[in-house]
């Protein structure tokens, strides 16, 4: 086995600023070695350890879908040392990638189900991957109705404007966008995600809900789903945790006897309720 701490090398192909305050960017990476790209076999919901060599490494969810061939994308909010360095990087820079890491969304189990995707804020990246995947012409027939509820503080924070526009045009997906407070020119919903979940009232019949966002949004949205008759095993979350290695060695991302990096980051609410409340 090779040294698992050595990253594959990629080059920054493109950088997109995703929001008005310019603290969220999507970085598109192209593998330097095509063999590495072939080996990077991922599903939506997985993450990778990405690094600017010499500056540091951090775990980031994969925002691209495996159906978008040729490159991979990461959406990075400027938060700490490494993410700030990523905000300074330029097209052509070398980025190290280790992965894919983690379990990802259970794509096989989702087949034949209606999907309700609920996201808040910039935690939408692996949901972008998931929705692009299920909407792909190769896979769309494998899934039932698809509903996306995506909330943000204000219109300037809405990520992925280009793909959202595409989705809104389609008739095989119900896209509900919301912002916290009214704004001029905003024609979609207004209100917190939980309130919109209540309004849309997705049916739990043969369905799975995928919920990602800040803790308060998850709690309130899940409470609404429970009101609507959803069961814990039907609700999936993706957790964030401080990590260093991403491969189950450095120790810190444990919740009880589970490691978020390898046993997660995706857990059903049913699984989470069996774990200690340390996340």
């Amino acid at each position: 086995m090779p040294n698992p701490y050595i990253p594959m090398l990629t080059k920054v192909k493109n950088i997109v600023s995703e929001n008005k305050v310019n603290d969220i960017k999507t970085i598109e990476l192209e593998f330097k070695n095509q063999e590495d790209y072939k080996a990077f076999n991922y599903i939506p919901g997985q993450f990778a350890e990405i690094s600017l060599i010499g500056k540091g490494e951090c775990p980031i969810g994969i925002a691209s879908s495996p159906t978008e061939e040729g490159s991979i994308k990461f959406t990075i909010k400027k938060m700490g040392t490494v993410t700030s360095e990523f905000h300074n990087c330029e097209v052509g820079d070398t980025v190290g990638v280790r992965g894919p890491c983690g379990n990802g969304w259970p794509m096989e189990d989702l087949k034949g189900k209606n999907l309700v995707v609920i996201g808040g804020g910039f935690a939408f990246s692996t949901l972008r991957s998931l929705v692009l995947y299920v909407l792909d012409e190769k896979y769309r027939k494998d899934f039932g109705d698809i509903t996306v509820i995506y909330g943000n503080r204000d219109s300037g924070e809405v990520l992925y404007g280009d793909v959202l526009e595409e989705w809104e045009k389609r008739d095989d997906i119900n896209v509900v966008l919301t912002i916290d407070r009214e704004e001029e020119d905003w024609t979609r919903e207004v209100g917190f995600v939980a309130a919109i979940v209540k309004k849309v009232a997705p049916s739990p019949d043969n369905a799975v809900a995928v919920v990602c966002g800040p803790p308060i949004m998850i709690r309130t949205a899940v409470a609404e789903l429970e009101q609507l008759g959803w069961k814990d095993y039907q609700i999936l979350n993706s957790l964030e945790m401080r990590m260093k290695c991403g491969i189950g060695k450095c120790g810190r991302c444990n919740i009880g006897n589970k490691y978020v990096c390898v046993d997660g980051p995706v857990f059903s609410l049913e699984e989470l309720k069996k774990l200690p409340n340390e996340y």
Binding site: K55, T94, C250, G251, R252, Y259
Partner: protein, 351 residues
């Protein structure tokens, strides 16, 4: 089982014969403490010692270790993998508890995810453990409470017993057998040497003052995760992390890039970390899943006595007693475990 005799005055000879092929690690005295060091002069080897302050885990999992090196050239990066992992090592004088620590580390480093910790596992495979049984365990020792023994052989390649002027040498693993066969000058052991070793082993076992019953400790821990006892246990803890840095089974690490900006090169390293530090789990957002000392103390105990049994069917403590000896506030893990064992008894009484 082959049984040989190694005279104590032949240690220099042993070293000279092995040092060409192996990095020879043995206990030496440094700043008043016993340390396992790569030997350059066999006169430095200390044969009268209890155990090292820092466990010999640092031989295969050093406090700071290079994961890989890199050179930077404009936008390009070149990575150099480690070249030294095939070197052979002997750890002479390791105690049975610390050898068991290596076995637990190997279990942890291979159990989770799709890949092993190649760096540790390669080094472990290239290392011969030549251990010495403990004739005189200290009052802080409690390996026998954890299924261990001062003369436990299972995790060693070669077992030595200190018979005064000489060592009884027993080969344990196949690796140890091949290793000892090369040392043709070792004399055969006599029946009375073997007998003496058995007596020493028995005497040592009987001298243990601590004997805890840790059967099903995980079954007591799990339902008592929120028990007020954790506050009591953590009240005196100062989160210094000594217990985990000096633990032969603790493996947590941080990863950092160190760059020499003038020469455009650097290395990604790992350094020991501890779950007792509040920074260990701190998210960039400011959220911290184990924000207080209560949660951090609990995690250390839960990891070794509940998560280990759950994940690998064995306890993650070897009973070496270092955390007992060196805790600056004397937060004795044996007392902690006894308190936990007594939770149910006390509840029965109060009910």
């Amino acid at each position: 089982m082959d049984q040989k005799i190694l005279m104590k005055n032949e240690i220099g000879k042993l070293y000279i014969e092995l040092a060409e092929e192996y990095n020879f690690y043995a206990p030496v005295k440094e700043k008043g403490n016993i340390v396992f060091k790569k030997i350059l002069n066999p006169d430095d080897i200390v044969l009268e010692y209890f155990n090292s302050k820092v466990p010999p885990k640092e031989v295969l999992f050093p406090e700071m270790e290079v994961l890989f090196e890199y050179s930077l050239d404009g936008k390009d990066v070149e990575i150099q993998d480690r070249q030294d992992l095939d070197e052979k090592n002997v750890i002479f004088g390791i105690r049975p508890c610390d050898a068991h620590g290596f076995a637990l580390m190997a279990t942890f480093f291979t159990a989770h995810g799709d890949c092993e910790d190649e760096i540790f596992m390669k080094k472990r495979a290239n290392t011969i453990l030549m251990g010495i049984g403990c004739n005189e365990p200290k009052s802080t020792c409690f390996c026998t409470s954890l299924g261990g023994h001062p003369f436990q052989k299972d995790d060693l390649d070669v077992m030595l017993t200190d018979l005064g002027e000489k060592y009884l040498v027993e080969t344990i693993s196949e690796k140890g057998k091949t290793f000892i066969q090369k040392l043709k000058w070792l004399a055969d052991a006599k029946k009375k040497d073997v007998q003496q070793a058995q007596e020493l082993s028995k005497k040592s076992e009987e001298s243990f003052v601590t004997k805890l019953d840790l059967t099903d400790i995980d079954k007591i821990l799990d339902p008592n995760f929120e028990h007020p006892i954790w506050k009591e246990i953590s009240d005196i803890c100062i989160s210094c992390g000594t217990c985990s840095y000096l633990c032969p089974t603790c493996t947590c690490f941080d990863v950092i890039d160190e760059t020499d900006e003038y020469n455009n090169r650097g290395r990604r390293i790992r350094i020991w970390d501890t779950c007792q530090s509040c920074l260990y789990t701190l998210h960039t957002s400011g959220h911290n899943p184990r924000n207080s000392c209560i949660e951090r103390c609990r995690n250390r105990i839960m990891h070794k006595f509940s998560y280990y049994p759950k994940n690998y069917d064995q306890i993650g403590c070897v009973g070496c007693g270092r955390c007992v000896q060196l805790c600056p506030v004397n937060n004795d893990i044996r007392a902690i475990l006894t308190k936990i064992k007594n939770i149910e008894k006390e509840e029965e009484i109060s009910a």
